[in-house]
């Protein structure tokens, strides 16, 4: 427990997470911050940072004066929408075996809303990537992603898009995806989505995520639309008091 890079805080966090998942703590009670600090020979602040993140993620609850405890409810639910997670993982955590079909990778002209969202000049092309995610052979997520080819630092083939876009970006564009800005939109599946997702009944309600991704310099770099079958997947979220 002395290396750098994962940060110390990160190491402490994953160590504790591991012990929590292994149910190593009696009655869900986690040792005091001071004890953990001396046990791992780090400062109490480092332990506190790690515990804060675990609390944000719903793994523990802290009560002033009483102690820190495992959050049984939070443990049951692993996938939370406020975190960017590969859709494969989301599918697996719902109990299905995930698969991805790369449907299409093509360059085309950006339409005006896309031009605005990505800060392009009119008439510029975009790369459009379409993917279909399966859960145990059933289609569950349709995803369409757009990015500007002028970010590319080296040539690509369609196959390079088979993984998550935020793994493509560092490799081919020397960009990092810092965050997504997402709108959650319910909709009645239009015919083309009924067909793509092989929806059993129609009309069917779908959840859609309309998002713009930003890099570290806070510039919009990708636009993505995803459509979820809600009968097989459920998006979850922890909401806290603001301020």
């Amino acid at each position: 427990m002395l290396k750098r890079s994962p940060s110390l805080t990160e190491q402490v966090k994953s160590y504790l997470k591991q012990r929590i998942i292994a149910a190593e703590f009696e009655a869900g009670r986690i040792p005091s911050e001071a004890d953990l600090a001396s046990e791992m020979s780090v400062s109490r602040n480092t332990v506190r940072d790690a515990l804060s993140r675990l609390e944000m993620e719903g793994f523990v609850v802290r009560r002033q004066g009483a102690g820190t405890f495992v959050n049984q409810h939070g443990l049951l639910v692993k996938t939370r929408l406020e975190e960017i997670v590969p859709y494969e993982i989301l599918i697996r955590e719902h109990g299905y075996e995930p698969a991805v079909h790369l449907l299409q990778v093509e360059e085309r002209l950006a339409d005006p809303p896309l031009t605005t969202a990505l800060n392009l000049t009119p008439g510029q092309p975009v790369i459009a990537v379409q993917k279909l995610f399966l859960a145990d052979t059933q289609p569950v997520i349709f995803n369409q992603t757009f990015l500007s080819p002028h970010m590319l630092k080296r040539p690509y083939t369609a196959d390079d898009f088979s993984g998550p876009i935020y793994q493509f970006l560092p490799k081919f564009c020397q960009q990092e995806l810092a965050y997504f800005f997402s709108e959650i939109v319910p909709l009645i599946a239009p015919p083309w989505l009924v067909e793509r997702l092989k929806l059993p009944s129609s009309p069917a309600a779908l959840l859609s995520l309309q998002e713009v991704g930003y890099n570290q310099d806070n510039e919009p770099i990708i636009k993505a639309s995803s459509y979820f079958r809600d009968d097989l997947l459920r998006l979850r979220l922890i909401r806290r008091q603001g301020q």
Copy 2:
């Protein structure tokens, strides 16, 4: 800038937020952490905590080696789903004048799913509260909240439910709402919702939030279902890399 409670961090945060909104920073550049610290005579850690929160909320971006900057994109969007915010505020920030109709407050028997969610024993009653939120006289949110009457420390009247439930809880139950655990569900409005929300067309897609609220002791205390007209309101979210 020396009082206690709100915490120093909180004071620094709202001071900076204020200056950001007033666009007081040249070219969106925020002074260095060291400068801010000495300017306000607090430690750099306190400044950093405040900036971290502002970053989480999308108000600023930080770049190692470069500096801290106002996030223009984040400023445009004020209401974020991961924060518990009164629906009135959400409606106002969408540009409408909010209003609330308290439709019903009644005690009834808890059905089995509710019994499970709130950890009740079968046959126990619950208080059911129904509210309708209007945006400029148009119905936009229908909300139904359930809580167990055995938490009540003193008698209530229906009117006591006219504000947000998390203002009722401290007063009447000596409980604090720590967080909501929420599922986001799209649905096709059933007839009773078409009627309640006066939906102009049918079938219409709605967004629904199915949530369970927990207190500081991590016990479930309320269950709430909300239904949003998505043509008037849009739920937004910032998603970041996990880990």
